[in-house]
Amino acid sequence: MNLTRHNYEEYFMLYVDNELKAEECAQVQQFIRENPDLEEELLTLQKALLDPEEVYFFADKASLYREEAVSRAPIIHIWRRRISAAAAVLLLASGALWLWRETSGPHASTQVNHTVADRLPDTVAKQPDTVREDSVNPSQVVNPLNPVADTKGPVSATPHPGSAAASGNVPRELPSGAQRTQSTQAPSVALGTSGVSPAQAMPSVPDKGTSVAAINGVNGSLPSITQPNTSSDMHPTVPLNGSSSPSTQIASVAAPKNNPGNVTTEHAVSYHTLEDADQKNDENTILFVRADQVMNSGVKGFFRKASRVIKRSASLGSDNIHAEPDADR
């Protein structure tokens, strides 16, 4: 800093404005000591400074204060709102579908049950007491899996002299749930047993001349019920309610000779004719599967429908994919 008598005013201004550094301030003070006639001018400049202690009070400070901020509502981003809305719509749709399945399910199952009931013969297990009471020579469905259950029944007390007594088997019931769903319209139940089989009783009550052979003859459309053992062993037919339904259907329990413990129930059911040709030995299983399908709940139906829709969409997508190369060709 070159402080002279020609430029001192600027430095005096900077000095009173406190814009100089410490050493520059010292130079100014030194300059004043060296030039005392200019000290009066510096004092006049300092007199022109405003007093910072001068105070003005703002009376309405209370109007300027702000209270504590009220808690804001949580900010939800728009994408979160969209996702939640989509989830809600999805939930509603699935719930509605569920309800629809629930409401329409019983009707469907009832209808199916009716159709099955119309077609399937009711076994003795469905109404064992009725059968035992109505039938003079009560027929029985033999269930080798539960040999103790039938010991209480009247049939077991009076076994059929033709087969059951001869074979020495104890007649048994079929506790199968699938057979319990069968209707009582189909009157005859043919029980095919082998003479060797120890686990079967064959009470036989012919109903209006219907036998297995006759039934097979009449009901030609039905799949043939082939008793692997013998046709003569299939004598026992059980009239359940004495109805002479033209579509007489047969549920037979056959026990092969070689496998006396394995009893298969064969049902000549009209609605699974396709399977019967190939799966004669598994008809019992098929019947169970059908019964399960009849008793489907809404959940399975929902998943089945969903998988169907997915398959359909996938097939459509694949068609679209393959359509373009074909079109190009």
Binding site: M13, N18, T44, K47, A48, P52, Y56, E67
Partner: protein, 205 residues
């Protein structure tokens, strides 16, 4: 080293940062991450800090405006609107810069107010001049205030910001929208006028 709290690194960003720190060449990654990351937000004004600003600076702002306008109600209006604006924009104002923000807003609102009421203001100045000529001022403070009233609003504001608030040329320039050289020149001219008036009045006395 990044300040995680400062940059508000959370979740996956934190995991990425830790992963990069464990890598041998993590320094470059960290630096690049620091470049990518947004700048940390300055601390915005809470309502307690705002009320503290009212306590600390309401009188100063009122003095600054009142001395410029010379009208109490107008000065109050300007002060209230300045603090209102501070409250509205508290998210963008740091507590440390609260005072300069207040004076900036108050200065510009005062200028707007003066421009709106220019005719009335000129009439008031004329009356003051008459009053000054009629009644000689004996007190040095009153002479100085009278001299201050004779300055234009820019010079007066610069002098008050410098003497009352102690702002530097740079800060005054930021508040008033002038550059540092302009502030220096205007302020020196104002000082010379004040000095001349004081000398003149002393000579008269």
């Amino acid at each position: 080293m990044l300040d995680l709290k400062k940059h508000k690194i959370k979740g996956w960003g934190y995991c990425l940062y830790i992963f990069l720190q464990k890598q041998p060449s993590s320094c470059n990654f960290s630096l690049s991450l620091a470049v990518i990351l947004p700048k940390p937000r300055s601390k915005h004004l809470t309502h307690q800090e705002y009320n503290q600003c009212v306590n600390q600076y309401a009188d100063n702002v009122y003095r600054f405006i009142m001395k410029n306008l010379g009208h109490e109600e107008d000065a109050k209006d300007v002060v209230q609107s300045s603090f209102e604006k501070l409250w509205i924009n508290r998210e963008q104002v740091d507590a440390a810069r609260c005072k300069s923000y207040l004076f900036t807003v108050a200065y510009h609102q005062m200028i707007d107010h003066i421009r709106k009421n220019k005719k009335v203001h000129l009439k008031d100045e004329f009356r003051d001049d008459i009053k000054m000529q009629d009644t000689p001022v004996n007190n040095a403070k009153e002479i100085l205030q009278d001299a201050l009233g004779r300055l234009n609003e820019t010079q007066r504001s610069l002098v008050m910001l410098k003497d009352y608030e102690g702002y530097s040329y740079e800060e005054i320039g930021r508040i008033t929208g002038l550059n540092e050289s302009q502030v220096k020149v205007y302020l020196h001219r104002a000082r010379i006028q004040l000095k001349a008036y004081i000398v003149k009045m002393e000579n008269v006395i």
